[in-house]
Symmetry: C2
Subunit: 882 residues, 2 copies
Amino acid sequence: MQTVFFFGNGQADGSAQMKDVLGGKGANLHEMTRLGIPVPPGFTISATLCSPYLRERRLPDDLRSDVTTAVAQLESVTGRDLGGAEAPLLVSVRSGAPVSMPGMMDTILNLGLNDTTVEALAAQSANPAFAYDSYRRFAQMYGEVVFGLTAANEESPIEHATEELKRLRGVEREIDLDPADLAELVQTIKRVIHDETGKVFPDDPWEQLWGAVEAVFRSWNTKRAMAYRRAHHIGDAVGTAVNVVAMVYGNMGEDSGTGVVFTRNPSTGEPTLFGEFLPNAQGEDVVAGTRTPEPISAMTKIWPGIEGQLREMGRMLERHFRDVQDIEFTVERGKLYLLQTRGAKRSAQAAVRVAVDMVAEALLSEQDAVGRVDPDQLERLLHPTIDPDLEVDVLATGLPASPGAAVGRVVFDADTAAERGADGEPVILVRRETNPDDFHGMLAAEAILTERGGMTSHAAVVARGIGKACVAGCKEVHVDEAHRRFEVNGRMVAEDDWITIDGSSGRVIAGSVTLTAPAPGEHFEQLMQWADKFRMLRVRANADTPADAARAVEFGAEGIGLCRTEHMFFEEGRIEIVREMIVAKNLAGRRKALGRLLPIQRGDFVGLFRAMDGRPVTIRLLDPPLHEFLPKTDEEIKRLADTIGVGFEELRNFISVLTEVNPMLGHRGCRLGITFPEITEMQAEAIFEAACDVADDGIEVMPEVMVPLVGFAEEFDRQASVVRATAEQVFARRGRHVEYLLGTMIELPRAALTADKIAETAEFFSFGTNDLTQTTLGLSRDDAGRFLPAYVEFGIIPDNPFQTIDRDGVGALVETGIRLGRETNPKLKIGICGEHGGDPRSIRFFHEAGMNYVSCSPFRVPIARLAAAQAALKDAPAVSQV
Amino acid sequence: MQTVFFFGNGQADGSAQMKDVLGGKGANLHEMTRLGIPVPPGFTISATLCSPYLRERRLPDDLRSDVTTAVAQLESVTGRDLGGAEAPLLVSVRSGAPVSMPGMMDTILNLGLNDTTVEALAAQSANPAFAYDSYRRFAQMYGEVVFGLTAANEESPIEHATEELKRLRGVEREIDLDPADLAELVQTIKRVIHDETGKVFPDDPWEQLWGAVEAVFRSWNTKRAMAYRRAHHIGDAVGTAVNVVAMVYGNMGEDSGTGVVFTRNPSTGEPTLFGEFLPNAQGEDVVAGTRTPEPISAMTKIWPGIEGQLREMGRMLERHFRDVQDIEFTVERGKLYLLQTRGAKRSAQAAVRVAVDMVAEALLSEQDAVGRVDPDQLERLLHPTIDPDLEVDVLATGLPASPGAAVGRVVFDADTAAERGADGEPVILVRRETNPDDFHGMLAAEAILTERGGMTSHAAVVARGIGKACVAGCKEVHVDEAHRRFEVNGRMVAEDDWITIDGSSGRVIAGSVTLTAPAPGEHFEQLMQWADKFRMLRVRANADTPADAARAVEFGAEGIGLCRTEHMFFEEGRIEIVREMIVAKNLAGRRKALGRLLPIQRGDFVGLFRAMDGRPVTIRLLDPPLHEFLPKTDEEIKRLADTIGVGFEELRNFISVLTEVNPMLGHRGCRLGITFPEITEMQAEAIFEAACDVADDGIEVMPEVMVPLVGFAEEFDRQASVVRATAEQVFARRGRHVEYLLGTMIELPRAALTADKIAETAEFFSFGTNDLTQTTLGLSRDDAGRFLPAYVEFGIIPDNPFQTIDRDGVGALVETGIRLGRETNPKLKIGICGEHGGDPRSIRFFHEAGMNYVSCSPFRVPIARLAAAQAALKDAPAVSQV
């Protein structure tokens, strides 16, 4: 098997198809060579050698002769010799994995320099300072990368020596030292390497080369590279290739230079060349930031030919790779070399525009275009954002719990938020953690900030549901409710102070920052249209209010997959009635309170049905345990006791009796409806009366009533008969019939395991993957924060299972539930309304599992539409994006 | 299909094999007739007609002619006529289902009487009072059973009229009224029937008969019958047969009588005739209790012939049915009739003795004998009990949470219980509810009584585990800890008062009651030996202390299937160290505390290993969430803060941070070991050092280390490598190697679903069906009390799923886990250590699922041994028992 692949002189052993072997960078170098694009010659050592090397810590024997042959070829093509005293061959040794891992692994430049060859370079370039500075850089890089020389404290010994010398000579840059000083510095570096690592810097370029090749392989397993792979779901076995390429220099005079160019604008997607360059410079000068590069447009004036070539090559590469290219180039004495080309990382806006433009340019099919945009990225088009170039005063960073940015004045309780928010004032609700009592305040606030709680805490879940920005679990914030202020990293933020919340990055920013308005635009609409054409899954939204519902429709939702009726219970003026119902001593008392809730709920449903205008609306019957609606503090309990006219002690005792050890597994869901069928009756009556009201107005209406937390078919049957009987009564009274479906959540393992029985009466299933994950994994979403991060870090769990569905466990139950359900009723309508419904990787699973629809928060509807299309197209290639 | 079956004159259409059609009573009447035993003739209407009748509320058309034929046959055999004015045929109409439901359904006697036939009966019996009293009884019974006449208040109108008349006439019994009065009373009854129900009492015996037949069918669905079926797992579709039998009378003079006889003593099992009889009486006279029956032994003197016949027939029936018989008989003018025979209900002691004796008598095989004893009944042989005939002062009745009876003085806290219990004083710990902090007090007490909590509350589970009697959830008790007393139904019981607890019945009894000591005896030992011969499942015990372990071995345990190491943590002198470990600020602090725990744990394990003497001992690593070990009240927190030298506020805050929303699904099990591997290390070190210590003494030792709450194979792998590394270190240090197994609990749905992966490293599985039930059903054991009783009552769940395994849900996961585990490792050792391990019906499932062993609390080991044998023998017939 060939393990060394040469390229140069218009010919190449490899091609773009060989990414697995050559890595992304290598494959593209070979491909460019084949295309006749000027690329410095070189060779690639196969990535397939990486894993065996890391296991055995030695290179295979026959590699030596293959590399010797390749170097000989390189010498012949360049007319230079490795270690040659007159025309020395200098090379770069770079990593390059089959998947993009920018900056994660190591690179060595100027390899081949030693005390002899440096003189030749000095002579050839007529610039001894440049030659010795290159030598200095190479020695330092070699010490660090190959010998593992790292700074024990802030300043490395090499840097210390360098800084000393510059201070002594009164210069700012190394290149401004005189050659003798630089030569001396090289010797110092070599000495430091020996002192610190016990290793001797090799003068023999061959020895240099082997050391560098092994170091590049080893760099596959640096901490940051492993962390990057984990974060990006890249397998450890992939490995990196090694590219050995002849050096070219952009600092050979005013007819030389270096730069980076994008074939289209990576921020906006505009189809014009974009980038910058620096005459008489090397790449590092750009990085060091000591000189300001010029925009590509400025090139026309000084190097019109080069600019033309770049444009031409860019166009060629774009057509060839059918994607925007990010190209590194160097001009050495008037000759243009491309050092690298790769798919350009781009903003969400650019990703969408490029994909759509390229269809118009016949570069991509519509299917390709749909596959080219990362669904998660779309979110940025739908929320206000903070210009990434803006300098902001970051107070602290928490979890990016719900995307978007928002500006407002700080308030510390839900009532104040609701009051001032209702007056149109922008407020940001800051809480230690939120609970259902805070819902009205969250609704009125621009954004929510919490001190505690994870990505799936109450604050996070609700904020995503209602499309508010949220930073959760910001531990550096210490809320002092008593004094109405919070302390953060030694600073105090008081009520009424302005802050800005960036829910996409987790940043909490002091003051009011100017936001960039969301602008999905026409390209976005076009892309969504294509996605809708290809997807098989229907996409619904989880929405609890007419406003949510309207937004969901705007984002393309085809129905409501989950309306949580209890959210309606928390609103002001209602919670009191709900509490009265709960603490009622008997059925008569409960019925009385329920009677007052009925018209309110009916009104809610009328609003929802109208907003959805004939689209299906799935309404879940009451789900949370009743104690969630009751006050917690003595003060609140006292107030309630006064309102409803019972003793404080009695009420407190009642509440304490209702408290549960494990509320997640307690008296909730259909268990409530079975012990208190009058609640189910009231909700069913409200639903069907609302449906009749809306139908009376000539608007189509399609309610789907959903029973939560079913574990036994008999539970569903009992609740179903209550709902059906109520429906019949309402229809008889109203003299009209409304079509409706009656189904259940599948959110307990037992429900999935006995789905065949449940499907005998249920007309649809909606998988509640949040609770199904909690029960299948025995993992409380509220408590997992203490160990789940460690689990993800240790690699015990690949992903947070509340974000991306656990295929092996929860997924297996979902598949069982679908199989059993359809065995009983092949036409059973099946969807999912857990948070996973908005997660692209989970959506792929739901597509494969044969579901009919997913339901997610309104803002994630476009994401789900795109992800569903990609799942249907399957072969959608992965693209790397900003 | 034949639906009416005649028997009489030594011939019968049916037989004992036809229970499904004829019901138990009917089948035995047919069988006795075939055996030549004198049975009054009659016929049986098939039970298969019951369900259709209840559905359609009408009898099938062809039944009429079949019954007419049967009545004609009966008339011919008896020489009497239905409705005949001279020799009227009188019959009883009785229910009789295929499964025994004693007293649950209705019976009508003396059917055929009317104003004409009563005169014939009076003449024939030469006893007009008897004749009219029979008529009176029949009329009243008919009104109640057929027309549904029931008492609106305490006294029914019929009873009222009857009492009035008796008062007026100054007599005590109806039979003492003169015939004219009785005749008048009959007319009064008929009038009341008409007034109250609008129905007219039918004079036509045919009409009487049809009404009675339908009423018996209808009585299948009385409330009490339905409740009984639910409690005894009898299907609703079975139905009852109807037996129409010629009346015989035991009150025809001194050569007549009636009685009940058991072929062996139903209390002790002694093989002598046992029972009682009443000369010149009808069955009802025995029930009324106005005359005292005489023991069967007294019969020899007055009716030696009858006594001989009874003995002979009893022996014949016992041989024929191969079971102790419970026989009803009537002697009419010197002629013996058997009215019914059935398998006798019997005490646990009798059940065991009869089964063993019958093997010696060659009536049963050993397999039969093993199948003849209800495993659950055995428990009564193993605990002290209260003589059921003893009159006791019952204060209240709670849940029979852990069997056995105990006497002691009331104490209200665990410390007092521990202190006084250690001094040998019998105390009973009374708590609102217990928590792990109370463990040392529970250990020292004779019994535990709690106000709150169900059959699976902490108190109940722990009490069963350590073999203490416990009455839980006794709501009538109101504990007033402050005043050290409890109020119960208006009475006060103070600290130091004597009470008696009957954990088998749930009774809380005032004062000190004399208990009957447990006496399993030689018959029990013999039966257990046979059970051990036939069973496939091995039986282990859940035991945490050497004392538990010793008891378990005594009861025949073949190993320990679950040692909960955390129970050891709660003992005095340890909990302080555990708390210090938990609140330690860093690894060093935790290690320091763990270092002090190590020798204590090692000592525990040495004791266990010695007690088990070479039998396998499964030790579960730390399982409960750490906050369970921490104090809850401010006072306790203050004390701990002082002890360990931290601020009160700081400690309270720390504890509040550790508190979890759903501790069942929180930071516990192997999640602790993964975040704090030093705890696993300490426990492993203690286990292996103890194993070496014991092995050094020449005692065999077989530890099985068990990792709890595994959901991901990687969790197990990580913990396994910590345990293995520790083992190797200990073995190296001690210079010896001890064989051990390393396995896991399967107690999360995900573990069962990914068992193939877990089995790659795990050497055994132990299904933790308690937690598996909680997660699969999404049902917190601690919170389910609020709705689970309603669920069982409504028939949503057939059984409490924490007592008997839920086959369809949890069972499906158990089967999946076993299948996947054995796919990876066909020799995988698989057991179960949840509470279901001691439940006979669950054990049958575990046997069928192919497990290797069950583990249960020590006292349930014999039950498990017997149940496992029955499961292996499978065909074990069901026997009805006391």
